[in-house]
Symmetry: D2
Subunit: 335 residues, 4 copies
């Protein structure tokens, strides 16, 4: 006898991850997956998911479904969140909530009115490596933080079609780093200055976006941060964080695919890094889903929610404005 | 409709690992767990294993059970293997097969007669880090191997009661390193010389064992190896392998629990290593079970079997004799 | 019979380094040291320098003196350079040439008119580690550079009295990083944006300076750079450089005082970094003096000169203006 | 006015190092070099050494010469030590004192009778990296030592002609590691077991030597050690030491030629190690000479002397006997 049902909407790349994690982590829950694609259906059958449907509205009417995990295309998030809230379901939604601050405020209104919990999928917050760094910071190991450095670079750019609808590099990629900086420092951004260029692929420029960016952020607590990003790091997915404090420094470094070294006449070589986010953040995705279900069961507040989506989206908007207007932008101009 | 059943005998520490891995890796298989302890039963119920029994003989009579995974106490392995072979089941057995070469030969006879496949649980062979090292060796990245170094040290000694029945450090612990050396070099040991002492806990000496050991092995292909071991490495589970070749060197190094570094006035500090074998070899245990089921399905030969158990046990016997007689022992004295 | 004489003016911390290096590297040269302090005289006697004087004008009149090494206080550099140029001596001068672009232009005029070579002491250009990184860049190992990151942090702030006369953090400290970025990229800065604060010591703020700074620079070749600095890194002198290119990444990392690691229950600890610039750049100081004397002997052009001093000083001025005016500053506003 | 003279006998590779170090470290001493080769004479003239001779006996009669540094061919060491002792000179002698225990005992007798200090050139004892490791050991950072591991491998074999007269790998190369183990543990070896083979070059075997060796040593304090050696490590000079103790582990690792890393599609590569002993132990050679002169000036006992030469030579003899007789050899059989 299963405790309750969780419905996963969408079995694309990230939906598959969440569905598998729910299946593996919670044998006492029942899983309902909603997919309209052959790929999704095949994946579901191969994994023997107990309920496979194609109509999310039916899930919303199913009283056994206590929570929904929304992994549909980004521009449908707001719609499905509102529907789920109205049906009284607890909600886990992949980022972004929406590209527009207005719509995010509507979402906020909807979940507040319905009184349902919503957790936003900023997966990096649940990475054990980042978590260890934050614990060291909070334990005072480096005293007061002064400079934060985030380097976040993808191994290769996404398809141009993705870039055209994603909202651009600040909205689809660097938003993670904005959220990470807020999460680590537990302080809000006051201003941002951004420089960026098309260095990787001219087609990205033609699509109206940039692919290489450096930013300086300031925070209410006085910390200054640099964030540098690229759509392409030939040497692999690069996810580093560093904090200089009054008494020392913390670093989170990359993870090679294995620990084996080859020493030859030209020196030693170490393996490349875990290839991309599904591998690098595999543990984070598991932990994120574990935290969502546990918070639901215990009645605890969700650790990341609409407010975090709103704040990070606002920073992304400010970053783009700084780039367009070649000046530092104050967050109070946006929010 | 599940493809077939796998019966897991014993839900102690390692049985739990195998059962969970089977459940997570193969949703298309049905799992039968056999346990007589409350702990085992609780674990099984918590994980919603579909069939929970306490009578292995019933599993052997169940025609739906195609394979058994034997995780019972070591001194029962031979009995259950023989019973399973007689019942025509494919067998995965945790190491050791037995402490006695004679009994291992009986096991060999039994599975040959029955014509059933048997895979022996030398988990380290399935570690991706060790596998990467072996692939580099086989790809000729360091030319011809000349010196192999294995360092294998546990974070803390097992209970004295375990040592009293385990067959001693060579039979319960260093046997893994003997197997690893054979696996890496694909060559058989010709001689061994061992020095050892009680350095960690006098109670280990009173139990008739040693806790600190260094050995030199020679191989048919001319490679020389050193293996050093300790029942206690205060800094954590230490699992390193290094091969010097004519053109370079390969290393497999330890894995810290996370990648975060703390820099302070005294220098930088990195986190401790993954605590013990369940964490360090988590991926190896998964891969091992995956390989077993896949080999079974495809009708492939098992990659590690009775012969490997026999050889490693013989080296352990030779190691002990070298220590007792203060001389190098030739393997042909044993096998 | 010595080949010729070199006069070293000033035996403070850096003058002592240059004098010792000349003595050790060039036993065929004769050394003349000019010092007016007891400390300087004691140092000179202890090292058996052959000629110890206190009147630089006499050195300038000595026809055996072919070259002068100016290590006097910064605000005397311009004066001594002009005097030395007028006397026809080859000149090595410690940085800065001067805090004022006008005076640097006068210096330029003076050495051009006299036709004497002048080498400016940007020591980091001669660091073997940085040199190796630059060679890898020039060899095309990472393709086209896209992002440069420099982290440059001192272990502890200088005395407030020094800060009051040094021209401030951009002029006395970060100017090195501006020069390093030009040296590595072989491209000129087009704009800079800077954020800074007093985070280390309020007395630095009272002296009119900042102690913690982050900057974004853009270059003619399209590269973007971040430079972050602190007057205090509790974990030691931090000197790192990183370049992301189209095909990979280069890093120059810090150097621990020794290679020994201590592994304990809390993890592994590595020693602190070489304490400060005299230790970290010991090899660079030797190489710099070797290059100066060799260029002199061979009649080669000096590898770093007045133009480099002018450019870096201008960037420092722009950095300060960006900070004061909270906007990106174009280099063409300055030069 | 120089304090006293030091005579350096022999300006081969190592004599040049010592002569330069004396010149650079002690400007207050006068240097006399004795060389009969054109190379030596050229080197001396290029470095402006003040006295260049070819007759060591004249140095011995020079009352201004207080100390001699013997860097002549190994088989002349005993002769020159005895002559120097008879002349009342303080002696620094390169290793080995001699290949024969009898001759070493004669040397001991000669210096004792003459009452002159003798320091033996076991340079590794003065390496700052090894020194840091020893200080950590003595400070109790890892508790009681249990296992010592030394890896010592040359980048390439010496000429066969050298091997033919050197006394073989144990006497010319591994003797350093025997000395290092005694130095670190401050305990004497009680037994040794050795395996070795010709794996690098058959010509080494034809010269009666081996080129690849692994040994196990036991010490009076109960520590067990493994030492592994090769005449050829394609990846460079490999000099590592590791000690497992009751509370942790110490490591001394290799030193790359620089700190710069290249990250590319295949992973990261670090530079090769410092090429060979002159580079790796440059600081040790300087420190060794500094300690010799300081001990002489202060009248302190020399930190390494005839006894150390005798002990290490005896271990080398035991190692060879173990190899020849395929059995562990007790040190009391030798000494």
């Amino acid at each position: 006898m299963k405790a309750f049902k969780v419905a996963v909407l969408g079995l694309g790349r990230i939906g598959q991850i969440h569905a598998k994690n729910l299946q593996q982590l919670f044998p006492d829950l029942s899983l309902q997956v909603i997919t309209s694609s052959d790929t999704g259906r095949n994946f579901a059958e191969k994994n023997h998911f107990p309920e496979i449907g194609d109509d999310f509205e039916r899930s919303l009417q199913d009283p056994g479904v206590k929570a929904v995990v929304i992994c549909s295309p980004s521009d449908t998030h707001a719609h499905y969140i509102k529907r789920s809230a109205a049906a009284g379901k607890a909600i886990f939604c992949e980022k972004p909530l929406d590209l527009s601050l207005e719509v995010i405020r509507e979402i906020d209104e909807a979940v507040r009115t319905a009184g349902v919990p919503l957790m936003l999928g900023f997966n990096k917050r649940f990475d054990p490596h980042l978590g260890a760094l934050k614990r060291s910071l909070q334990a005072g190991k480096i005293g007061r933080p002064n400079i934060l450095r985030i380097t976040s670079r993808d191994p290769a750019p996404p398809p141009i079609s993705y870039i055209e609808s994603s909202g651009g590099i600040y909205m689809d990629m660097i938003i993670h780093d904005f959220d990470t900086s807020r999460f680590l420092l537990e302080s809000e951004v006051t201003s941002i200055f951004t420089r960026a260029a098309v260095r990787v692929d001219p087609a990205i420029g033609e699509a109206g976006d940039v692919d290489t960016s450096v930013s300086i952020l300031t925070f209410e607590n006085g910390v200054m941060a640099t964030i540098d990003n690229s759509r392409q790091a030939a040497y692999g997915y690069d996810q580093r964080v560093e904090i200089l404090g009054s008494d020392g420094m913390l670093q989170m470094n990359n993870i090679p695919v294995d620990t084996h070294l080859v020493f030859g006449r030209q020196g030693a070589s170490q393996p490349p890094y875990l290839d991309f986010f599904l591998e690098r953040y595999a543990a984070a995705y598991r932990e994120e889903m574990r935290v969502f279900i546990e918070a639901l069961r215990q009645g605890h507040a969700m650790p990341v929610g609409v407010e975090d989506g709103l704040r990070s989206t606002a920073i992304a908007i400010a970053a783009k404005r700084s780039l367009d207007e070649n000046r530092p932008v104050e967050m109070k101009e946006i929010l």
